[in-house]
Subunit: 226 residues, 2 copies
DNA sequence: ATTATACACGAACATATGTTTGTGCGTCAA
DNA sequence: TTGACGCACAAACATATGTTCGTGTATAAT
């Protein structure tokens, strides 16, 4: 159970490479691929150091099977990023921008296209309500203008991309006439749309349907205190 | 992009096997292993159906590389369980109870002892601020009494167990004389403690230090809209 | 009947890949 | 010196594993 710093430079490089490779491709590298990347001429040297890493408690090996490697201990200097297997475990959600009262929400047309980018946040399953990675996105809230909806500066809101809403839904709405973006509970009245703050001590807003573009439904909010 | 139910029984079995195998061993199965498990006599049949799964949008294949498989779409009926790669990924946090204005926070003495229980919530790393599983716990907020601190009924607050606080910290405090629990920003003044709501439109509370037991520091809040 | 298509089988093939063996080069202790 | 040990290299070896080919059997469309 050696500490990471006690490993040789070569072994640290190998670990990092294996980690990144597995994260990016979904399966571990072969011995020869490790050698190539870490400038090791001979496969036996890779094999030798792999066994060292097993002894040090970082690796599991399955004998005789190709790519039979598994990193079983956290190593510094690597980013977790995307999951190897999809599922209702944790999901990465594209953090596509920010929301503030005075500016429209600008959404890239194709959220799925965002997949290759770096701006991601990991969201626990309870907060996703069953929706998939591609239909969900996240925004950072800027300013205190959403305070009547119990959302403050720095909060991250997770939304599902949709243009309609049911009564009672919390939605992100763009009000063209007011040049306002807001997060409110949606209620369709006979002649207007009522946007109801989450905090009872604030008054609802009434807008004409033509002055209310729904951008998405709010699924959840995450806040971190510094 | 076929739905899971449109796949043949054989293909569904293959997907599930690949998923479980990868989850349990850390790397994908070989073609022959898939065939053996799914009662397929010929490797070419496995190969054929793997390509079908690629067409259906469930799988990625890396040509010529052994075990070059990656499941890229969630499939029903499998449990995520352990992560393939270790890391500062998600952590389970004990959900030890609830907090409401009228009742004290009751914390089990040993949070670590709670580990075997079922009441857990998974928290993304950003919200833990580097603290470990044993020093952190979570509470469900009941009632609207924390509304001045931008926290509403149903919210889950993650706290670090501690009895002191620095100025500006958001803390969970039990006020014995008032029989009140509250979440506020903590400020030590010359003669009293000021408990400042997060929402500027509410007034601070001043209490005597003897009437303020700090239970923990609030690290983050999670909210899910139904 | 004919063609096309989806799916399945077995066998042969090519090679990607883990394993082993022999050797050499340092450092350190006896 | 000597020997042990950790680490590295190259080459040969054995096999695990992806790929391809020829064939067969249904079912549906023409």
């Amino acid at each position: 159970m050696k500490a990471f710093e006690e490993l040789s430079t070569r072994q640290r490089n190998m670990l990092r490479f294996m980690y990144n490779y597995t994260r990016d491709r979904g399966f571990p590298p072969s011995i020869r691929e490790i050698g190539e990347e870490c400038d090791i001429g001979s496969t036996s040297v890779v094999n030798y150091n792999l066994n060292k890493l097993v002894d040090a408690g970082y690796l599991q090996r399955s004998g005789k099977v190709s790519r039979g490697l598994r990193i079983i201990r956290a190593i510094p200097g690597v980013s977790p990023a995307r999951r190897i297997l999809p599922g209702r475990g944790f999901q990465r959600v594209a953090l596509v921008g920010r929301i503030a009262a005075g500016e429209p929400i600008s959404l890239p047309d194709d959220i799925a296209h965002h997949i290759d980018d770096d701006d991601y946040i990991e969201v626990p399953p309870q907060l996703l309500r069953g929706f998939g990675e591609t239909e969900v996105f996240a925004l950072t809230v800027r300013g205190d203008s959403m305070i009547d909806s119990m959302i403050q500066d720095g909060d991250i809101v997770v939304l599902r991309r949709q243009n309609t809403a049911d009564n009672g839904d919390m939605v992100a709405a763009w009000l063209p006439e007011d040049s306002e973006t807001t997060l409110k509970h949606f209620y369709r009245e006979t002649d207007a749309i009522r946007l109801q703050p989450a905090n009872q001590s604030y008054e609802p807003i009434y807008v004409h349907p033509s002055n209310c573009e729904i951008k998405g439904r709010v699924l959840s909010v995450m806040r971190s205190y510094s």
